[in-house]
Symmetry: D2
Subunit: 178 residues, 4 copies
């Protein structure tokens, strides 16, 4: 089962990148960094000149995956423009790379709520595109102090919770895609 993870933010020290990277490492999956892909803001006039190379690359990773884990921060109570923009571009690639993909959503956030509002809006965008978004999700609150040097969660209870969630998700995903 091929697992691909990515994050809905771009900056070098992004907490959600660390979360997505940590999960990929622990499961033998592949982490894709959106930052070097330089995906432009969606503009249909750009699209008529061809799908940008960074989108083509992301689409290839997504299509090859049997399961996706996406970690997205919450900006202003909902999905980030970064992540939504990537999804908007992916929805322009045919055949749809996201169609019927099992996805697990995570969120790391410096605040106390752990990105819970964003997670629910993010579900909707993926579900409209036909993804099977796993019902369980995990928000990591106070994420600026949550990780060790290997992008593993410091808090024992939270780390176990994440491991169990990821395991349950992968078992579920293998039923769907198997």
């Amino acid at each position: 089962m091929k697992l691909v993870t990515f994050a809905g933010s771009l900056r070098k020290d992004s907490l959600n990148k660390r979360l997505a990277k940590g999960v990929a490492q622990s499961q033998g999956g592949e982490f894709v960094d959106l930052q070097p892909l330089s995906i432009p803001v969606y503009d249909a006039d750009i699209e008529t000149e061809g799908i940008p190379a960074g989108v083509v690359t992301l689409a290839r990773f997504v299509r090859a995956a049997d399961a996706l884990i996406v970690a997205g921060p919450e900006y202003n109570g909902t999905i980030t423009g970064v992540l939504k923009n990537a999804i908007d571009w992916l929805s322009r690639v045919k055949p749809l790379p996201l169609d019927s993909k099992p996805i697990l959503l995570l969120s790391a956030s410096p605040g106390a709520l752990g990105g819970v509002r964003s997670l629910w809006h993010t579900r909707q965008a993926f579900e409209v595109l036909g993804c099977h978004v796993y019902p369980g999700m995990l928000g990591v609150p106070k994420a600026h102090e949550a990780f060790d040097a290997n992008n593993s969660l410091v808090d024992e209870r939270l780390r176990v919770q994440l491991q169990q969630l990821v395991s349950a998700f992968l078992a579920h995903a293998s039923k769907i895609t198997g």
Copy 2:
């Protein structure tokens, strides 16, 4: 009362640009085109080098407005990455340009639903930032055949509905900001 309108899409012939432009014209307001502002995808590492010029320009228009009308398409069942990205950048400008602004949301869409799912997610992003989003909204369905050469709605009933909504909104906005 100063009215500013803009749209949540970039392409030259955008239906939502036409909607936002048409409303601005009919009300003596100002339409701001996001496309030439070249707002990059949000990246905190870019932000540390300074808020991009296009964001500064948009923030100036928003701050000067007594009322905003935003027309946004629906991509994949929710707010476009384009619009969310602009909001994410605006939320980084201090003091917050959007704080306490009265906003009316519109949506033009080639489909039959008129962007109704997107309108509700878009509310949330603006409301989290302290905007007074007007309860009434209008989705223009089948928008590819909805406008005349002056960006006015062809359909008599829909045109009157839009005029009444805009008038009611502006009367409400003048109470709040007056």
Copy 3:
């Protein structure tokens, strides 16, 4: 594979009851009418005296199901109080009858939008409880003229669309629960 269907409205001639009943008939499933169950408005003081009999009955049907299809109208832009109240009661029964259930959501509505806003809020309530809500959904617009005497959809295109959706859902559900 045992299919159970129910509707999120109570009145005798409910369009959503007809939709849920029609689907059950065509698939050899069982339709449960909530009206005779007389489920009271949730009140924790009632709960301390015991889960009401109607809730116990509904919970038994739900637990026995391998797949659920729920048809809910839209009241005021979101899930009906009727359906939400039934879900709230179900969430008080232990072990959770809804846990991990595959669910397909439908909506019949006399309006043009077919209940699309309600469908998305309804997803959230079921997903919080651990259900696997199928990404595809179907809103039946102008539902007051949509059914024949056997609760089958009159419109050929819509009827085929519903059949294909239900078949795809049941195939998916059998992978999850199988």
Copy 4:
């Protein structure tokens, strides 16, 4: 300015009743308890026999109010069936008692999130009915230990935050309805 408050739960010791009652007391407003109103689960067949007395009473309070404050718990990640059911009934009374009402939403919850998901879905139901829902909201987390004997918040910081929110809301409401 006449302030009316009510809560979206029924049990005698409801935390949200205490929150709504405490705010009413501190502002010289009126608290309406939904429990003795015995509002039935909405059923159009009941409606054809006449709007139930409890709904008529609630509608009278709502119509008389210049401003409403509604405190609702979160059940299963969204609005309670109790509150949605009350709103559904209110929407059947003509002329609409909720139309154009300024509303502030609060939520008390024993959990850590303070009902944040429910608050956003509750906004939508009221906004569809034409209410001006105040952008600021407050979730009271760990609410089982939050109140003193007078239904005032024990925590100094949270109490001041609530007072300021209520004051800002009432000032805003007086602009709209004045």
